[in-house]
């Protein structure tokens, strides 16, 4: 039993960074109804900018965090202008395919610029295991969890208490109606991208600081984790993304413990399959989609 609880606690800690990734995906999907396959890679660009200034200038973690964020945001803007803004009204498929192409481009760019297999990344804190109520928690995990949750709360506040958040939610629900309110949907999408990239950049920093290394496979990894977490929680739902992230973290940890490391990804993908087959809206997405359908039916 104690193992189960320990795994759950670890899973929640790890899941918090999946949650941040998922939130970024879901924000972009929410405002544009399109999947951005270059999201993970754009975060990877940020992370490699961070490792670059760590290696070149021996910068401290705050500077590296800032560099990672800026790098991710710039890469995110690049993706948005090229794949989404440029292919406006037309085929959503074209946007997704081009985002896939840019994913390949960004990955190649990183592999060519950073030819070694792995690069160092500064840690956030030392490796200090704490013991709380018989459960051991790594200090670095706890710090990561605290930062991630603070960010999520801040985002929630922004979405529900600010004018910009209102605009994002309006565009996510109904872009045509939003335009009738005078909301500039292009600008909202652009800024949603910036926020999503910043969130992702910070998630990337937390993850890299935890692993204390970065590899060019980070883009792929982040894409899978973020996508799965988002789909588990429900596409287009921020609370869903958070829930999905934590769920994924816990599932992975439990699977690794009880079944072995090889089964970790298998279980995660299996769970995704089950969800897509029986509850494609995800944990929370279904309810929202249901409500929307009912509301439209009243008309």
């Amino acid at each position: 039993m104690i193992d189960f609880i320990q795994n759950s606690v670890d899973g929640i800690m790890i899941g918090s960074r999946y949650a941040l990734l998922a939130i970024g995906f879901t924000l972009i999907f929410g405002v544009m109804r399109r999947l951005n396959l270059s999201y993970g890679p754009s975060i990877m660009i940020g992370v490699f900018v961070g490792t670059f200034i760590f290696i070149e200038f021996k910068a401290g973690w705050m500077a590296v965090a800032a560099a990672t964020l800026v790098g991710a945001v710039i890469a995110g803007i690049y993706v948005e202008r090229l794949c989404f803004w440029a292919i406006r009204q037309g085929a959503a498929l074209a946007s997704m395919v081009s985002s896939f192409a840019i994913w390949m481009q960004l990955e190649e760019f990183v592999t060519l610029s950073f030819p070694d297999r792995t690069y160092p990344f500064p840690p956030l804190t030392g490796d200090v295991p704490l013991k709380i109520a018989g459960i051991s928690i790594q200090l670095s995990y706890l710090v990561m969890f605290a930062m991630a949750t603070t960010l999520m709360l801040a985002l929630n506040l922004a979405l529900y208490r600010t004018r910009f958040g209102l605009a994002v939610r309006a565009v996510s629900e109904n872009p045509v109606a939003a335009r009738f309110m005078g909301i500039n949907t292009s600008r909202v999408i652009f800024f949603a991208f910036v926020v999503a990239s910043a969130l992702g950049g910070f998630a990337g920093f937390l993850i890299a600081a935890n692993e204390q290394q970065v590899t060019p496979l980070f883009g792929l990894w982040a894409t899978f984790k973020g996508l799965i977490a988002m789909m588990l929680g429900g596409m287009g739902s921020v609370p869903g993304a958070i829930l999905g992230g934590f769920l994924l973290g816990v599932i992975e940890r439990q699977a690794t413990w009880y079944l072995g490391a090889e089964f970790r990804d298998l279980v995660a993908y299996g769970l995704l399959f089950v969800f897509l087959a029986f509850r494609p809206g995800g944990l929370l997405g279904q309810r929202l989609a249901e409500r929307e359908r009912l509301a439209l039916r009243r008309v």
């Binding site: 209102l166 939610r169 109606a177």
Partner: protein
Amino acid sequence: MLEVRDIVTAYGKIEALKGVTLSAKENQITCLLGPNGAGKTTLMMTITGILRPRAGSIRFHGDEIAGAPAPQVVKRGIALVPENRLVFADMTVQENLAAGAYLRARDKAGVAEDLERMLTRFPRLRERSTQAAGTLSGGEQQMLAVARALMTRPDLLLMDEPSLGLAPLIVDEIFEIIAELNNDGTSIFLVEQNAHKALEVAHRFYLIEQGKVTFEGTPGDVAEDEVIQRAYLGSGAV
């Protein structure tokens, strides 16, 4: 106030509007009637800037707005109550109204005043002000859509088929509200299929068929039965 001249709007190769000319005068209710597919909603979309016309001009208060993007059209003082309401189902009634006041957010006092005024004029919205808009009945959603559009403090209110899908009693209520709004000084441009009710409130009306305006007049001037028949059934059936 609003002068539409020879507007041509097309979807690819299909011309939905083939040169539409009409005008809406200040402080009046102008009504556009027509059968399904005549181009009524396309015209609304063109005026509000969602669609760009291929040719023609739209002048509002003398300024050319044809082809202007939607946020600009709203800024100039034209607000639309869309077909099918299009309320933000997951947001509360209050948030929907706040969305309506999006462009005026800096004028906090004015927006608060208007919010209060909307909730007073539509008591049922006040009752449900913290409910999600998707849980409201059709008639209540229509009222919300109207109130939301009014939050922009428009000079001209466009309404696209406000009676669509509503029970007759509610339709009566909606048209009462339309008449009231006009009495209080709002200029309204109304698109309707329910020619009966529309002709009761309109000062001036146009009939659009297959992308062109085929008739214009004042209610009471002409045999309305013929107009109503054409509006519902198209001129082929008359």
